[in-house]
């Protein structure tokens, strides 16, 4: 090669036209033998290539990662998502990097990406692959994660004997054993199990038939047509059923106040803790039940609503991103967070403006927006709604992550990190005027209470206090 080719271009033998048309930087073979769009194998279920190609490395996702901000070992969402996906193609020597288990699945990176890269879908997929192929199924850590991820099973058992469970779960020696054998931190208090689950209460109130009666009464009072088509299917999730049935009861009363008939279909866990632990087979089993029962109702004209922002997130985004189940897209498109749904269909803002609150909810609230509310565009919903409500005050404690991320902060080896992430929120809560917390997410609520000792309420409880007689 002559100097005229300029510096930096290596001396290479001319390409043998019969040889395998591998990539050659001097004479790139972009003819018929080489199709640049086919360099990666097609994905089996979901093709992540377009997402990976859309990433232009601005690193905005990294500025949103609560783990990377405190953990020097964690490479951040840009690596975990598009970069790892690319590195893994056509290279069987490399598995998924084990740092994927340090991602807390807060999903904030999704809301950050100006290019629409499905980062959390990539993280969930990689984590699932890591757990399926690289994690020992006989290790204690695997079983610890599996038990934590299947919270519904433990909660179901505990709800049979709530008083015994409440005593046993926070019994010092038992917790010491749990930490030493399983790696479940003994720093945290287990949440109380309700003596009456939400579903028990619901049956006692007459179930769907009772709700229809009450909704019709309310429609008369409101001057609406008595047979108005206002029907919703409530996805209460595990926590509102077993631990905070007052949230579920508030939802039913608020919806009936607006003239809605509520049904409470059969349901399993939304899958949120299973995604976060890479237990995709478990998650799929639960999702199939949920999609089937919610799908039937959606087909009959119901909309699905959830009071937990992680549950609504799972049904809306994670299900269609991870599973191919019949009817899953219709369920996703017809699922709403419960307060959001009322903002769309009713004059909730007007009723809140005309209302006032007395009693124990006439308080100053320190509100924390759950990370999973962000992708749904709901992180400001509560503060904007309640700033017009007489008798209460509400202050946003900032956009930091609470740090617990479901089961993450329950793990012995993650506890310190979880508290370090939460530090900013604790500080802002302490300096806020009120000493009652508010959030939509049950595990954020645990963390808020753990860090400050405040009592934590759900927005639906305040709406109930404001507008339901």
């Amino acid at each position: 090669m002559s100097d005229a080719d300029g510096p930096g271009i290596p001396d290479v033998e001319p390409t043998d036209p019969d040889a395998d048309p591998a990539f050659d930087p001097v004479e790139p073979n972009t003819g018929e033998a080489f199709e640049p769009t086919d360099v990666f194998e097609e994905g089996e279920d979901f093709d992540l290539r377009p997402g990976s190609d859309s990433c232009y490395k601005c690193s905005t996702c990294d500025t949103n990662c609560p783990v990377a901000e405190v953990d020097d070992e964690f490479p951040g969402p840009k690596f975990q998502g598009p970069e790892q996906w690319r590195l893994k193609q056509n290279d069987d020597d490399h598995g998924v990097d084990d740092s994927i288990m340090d991602c807390s699945n807060c999903m904030r990176c999704d809301n950050a990406c100006p290019s629409g890269v499905p980062l959390s879908q990539m993280h969930n997929t990689a984590r699932g692959e890591y757990v399926a192929e690289e994690m020992s199924k006989t290790s204690l850590r695997y079983w610890r994660n599996r038990i934590l991820a299947n919270y519904r099973t433990s909660a179901w058992l505990a709800s049979k004997v709530p008083r015994v469970a409440n005593a046993a779960m926070n019994f010092g020696p038992a917790r010491w054993v749990m930490e030493k054998t399983l790696g479940v931190t003994s720093e945290r208090e287990f949440p109380d199990f309700a003596t009456e689950t939400f579903r028990e209460w619901w049956d006692r109130e007459g179930g769907a038939a009772g709700s229809r009666e009450r909704a019709r009464e309310q429609r008369k009072r409101r001057g609406d047509p008595v047979d108005a088509d206002k029907r919703v299917a409530y996805f209460h999730g595990c926590y509102a059923n077993y631990n905070t049935p007052e949230v579920g009861r508030a939802l039913v009363r608020v919806y009936e106040h607006f003239g809605y008939e509520v049904v409470v279909p059969d349901q399993k866990c939304s899958g949120t803790p299973m995604f976060a632990n890479g237990m995709l087979d478990d998650a799929r089993r639960h999702a199939e039940v949920n999609v089937s029962s919610m799908g039937d109702l959606v087909e009959r004209g119901y909309d699905a609503i959830a009071s937990c922002t992680s549950c609504s997130m799972a049904l809306r985004q994670e299900y269609p991103e991870l599973f191919d189940i019949e009817g899953i897209d219709d369920v996703a498109a017809n699922t709403f967070e419960s307060v959001e749904y009322l903002r769309i269909h009713e004059d909730l803002r007007g009723e809140i403006r005309d209302a006032d609150v007395g009693g124990d909810l006439a308080a100053e609230f320190a509100y924390h927006a759950p990370c999973h509310a962000r992708n749904q565009g709901l992180d400001r919903q509560a503060v904007e709604l309640f700033r017009d409500l007489e008798g209460v005050g509400i202050e946003d404690v900032g956009d930091s992550c609470s740090g617990i991320s479901g089961t993450y902060g329950w793990k012995d080896e993650k506890y310190e990190k979880s508290m370090k992430i939460g530090e900013e929120m604790f500080e802002h809560m302490e300096s806020a005027e009120g000493s009652t917390g508010m959030t939509e997410c049950p595990t954020c609520a645990m963390q808020m209470e753990h860090g400050t000792g405040y009592d934590i309420r759900h927005p639906l409880e305040l709406i109930e206090a404001a507008i339901v007689d």
Binding site: E69, D72, N111, A332, G377
Partner: protein
Amino acid sequence: MAIESEVLVVGGGLAGLTSALAAARAGADVRLISYKQSTLRNASGLVDVLGYTPAGEGPLVDPYGAIPELPEEHPYRTVGLAGVREAMDTFDAVAPDYRGGHTDANALLPTHGGTVKPTARYPAGASAGIASDDRDLLLVGFESLPDLDAPHAAAHLEAAGVPFEARGVTIRFPGDLRADAKVTRYAKLLDTNGEVTVRGRERPAREALAARVNPVLDDEDRVGFPAILGYDRAGGVRTDLARKLGAEVFEVPMGPPSLPGLRLEDALFDALDTAGVSIETGNPVVDFEGEHRIERVFVEKNGARIPNAADQYVLATGGLVGKGVESDRERVYEPVFDCHVPHPDGRYDWFDRDPFGDHAFARFGVETDGDLRPTGPEGRPEFDNLRAAGSVLRGYDFAAEKSGSGVSIATGYMAGERAAEVAG
């Protein structure tokens, strides 16, 4: 039903935030919807008005003086000189950590490439770096942050003829941060003055950093760092470092992701919150209903279409980079309302063959009437109640002129004010 407001702003960049603020301050009930988080975190944090004329003359000393001479299609001509001034006053009122509002003249600020940029406003944290100041300066770069190559940037500054001596050194940031640690990791460590490990000993991060810089500092009066000196408590970090170094400390604005951009984003969102604006991010506006008036728009969330209705609308979705203007092989278009985007038919006429030539695409965008309402091919408004602001507008090349922030603020302000006026 729909989620309702008087004025609905689509877009969360500088133009969208300014229009929402202007409309709310004028008394309207305002809602702002942004596809994703604000793109301000990609911005350097410098707020320019006009650095060069469209013919390339400059750097301009007085950006305002040049505005009446701009071509008629330039958005500044639609807003008018008085409007631009009012808009900048509003910006100053809500960005207290900004400097430059005391004068009409442009300031000259060093960039992380070592060039000098004319700009109308700059963060307080960058002010000690100003290039018209004749005190000598030291630039300190970090090995793990190649975005600021300090010796190179210093040499570049000297070559540009600055009236002081500039020297650059590269050091290792104290502690065992990973090689690709995020800018937020540095900022958080300095904000909290967290412990870092230096030769087996734990030391507070600010003290450890000053200890690394002191031996390489000669008698320079000011020291510049990459813009990672804290996030929430940046002022405190600078003051603390300045005391430990015995020199003024400043930040050199950087590329994305940018802490000065993040801080500006926070200041503006706080101002919107105070003004009572309702804000939603995370999902795009994809469609609308209406013929000559927009009745409602739809936000898409995983297949669900959430209706949002308002009396007046502002389109502030950005330009070709921000996806407010899109193109394919056939045409250039505005994706939300399909407003008319004038452009040559053949796509080979959209650009110049010289990379630094006069590219037509740089000025692509929607055309408006005197009220900032996008107009169709016949020059009539596409919709009675839609105004456009920021880089979705045609007629200016913000990268060449250094006018991006100013046009966004000025047109955002005007669109917001007008929308509120009509809605009220």
